[in-house]
Symmetry: C2
DNA sequence: TAGATTGTTAATCGATTAACAATC
DNA sequence: TAGATTGTTAATCGATTAACAATC
């Protein structure tokens, strides 16, 4: 007997990665007053093909109406439910350099299902400073207080914006405190137990991928130019 | 006759996305004085399997020595060459809010193959301000000057850190000025011609993907707890 | 030669796509 | 009923993996 490759109800990783896009685009159609939308229009707004969109949504259930389309608010809610953002999830940010401060003062979190529970730094010079975010303001706490904050408040996700050298140490601290979801901005590969999910954003990685494309388009352009010149001659 | 699906020498997208990781990890082995490394150790440090690493590298050529491993500096150079970062590539950043300022003052660009050519904002209040980045400092220019800077200097990549409302407009401006590689931090899907490559970083998207994982691990944990309790009873 | 490690093969797995039956 | 659009199927495509022959 062969076991199935995936749990029956499981949703493909590639689909999960696109759900936040669908969610945001649907929400913006919602505020524009659109109540019903067809896969073709929604897909175009999300930058994917209608087939892919419908396939993705089919993994969550069948929320559309044939011949009509999808109810915008109903579908928005179903995706939010699948992602686990129907109630706001708490985050902590460790590392109050330029990037950490930029994130802590980012005002669009609330609307996407997140709220900041605490911000931390190792540097005593920074501890006690406050960062204003719209109506709210947060005070920088010493990293030593991270475990207490995580165990006493409802924290779901840890964000690391420290230099590369301290990132592993902070990750260990977060995991010890019970966090299993980490967003890492430090340019280093974290070593974590397998039940911990780490997502990584590295600006230089994104730029290098673009550099590859840019280099290719340069040579393509030269090729085109050469072809044009060849025709002229 | 059937055409091949991909150009013969073409490198898979999944491989390209991993090359920057290999490059950074190799560079750090290099500064640590390691001269030769086996796929097993390099793969572990990069968080991938040795098979995947060797397969990825095999698309670039055969740069290793059987029975020995890879020469660190030689492989580092070959990957840099493939990515197109053997010479530093110029970037412009538009939108000098918190995130834009954080990027403009990020000191690790130089070591990864990039330098800032110009920073821009629409807001007249911000124009003329300077942002310090290590030894250098940059002055915020009005967006109107973007085309001139792109055409007069050697700019390869445009970075958008504006609010969502202005992002499309700025993208159009960049494309008109001749840029074909854009890194977009605004939470909006850009509409661009197909020869333009856009990479998108959306913090809330990353967090929502983690929220999905976090939600799942919650229910898994409950399941485990329940199992433990059942055993005790 | 013996041991080590690469580069490649072939099998498996997962994601994408186009087409269309189902159904509003 | 006729037109529209979903949800699903089956085919294709691309990525991953394990195993091993090649070779240092």
């Amino acid at each position: 007997m062969t076991l199935p490759n995936r749990k029956p109800g499981a949703i493909p990783a590639a689909t999960i990665a696109r759900l936040p896009i669908y969610h945001r685009v649907l929400a913006s159609f919602g505020v524009s007053g659109v109540t019903t939308i067809a896969s073709e229009e929604l897909a175009a707004a999300c930058g994917v093909s209608p087939a892919k969109l419908r396939k993705d949504l089919s993994h969550l259930g069948s929320f559309g109406t044939r011949g009509v389309g999808y109810n915008v608010s109903y579908l928005t809610f179903q995706i939010a439910r699948e992602l686990g953002v129907t109630k706001s999830r708490g985050i902590v940010i460790v590392g109050m350099g330029n990037l950490g401060r930029a994130l802590a003062s980012y005002r669009a979190f609330g609307g996407r299902g997140f709220h900041i529970v605490g911000i931390f730094d190792r540097d005593h010079e920074l501890v006690g400073n406050t960062i204003v975010c719209g109506q709210e303001s947060f005070t920088v706490k010493p990293v030593g207080e991270l475990p207490a904050v995580v165990s006493q408040s409802d924290v779901n996700i840890g964000v690391i914006t420290t230099p590369a050298e301290s990132a592993q140490e902070i990750a260990d601290l977060m995991i010890q405190a019970g966090l299993v979801s980490i967003l890492n901005f430090a340019p280093v590969v974290l070593n974590v137990p397998e039940q911990v999910e780490v997502r990584k954003v590295d600006l230089a990685v994104e730029l290098q991928i673009l550099a590859f494309h840019d280099q290719r388009s340069d040579s393509d352009e030269n090729l085109q130019e050469q072809l044009v010149r060849a025709e002229i001659a």
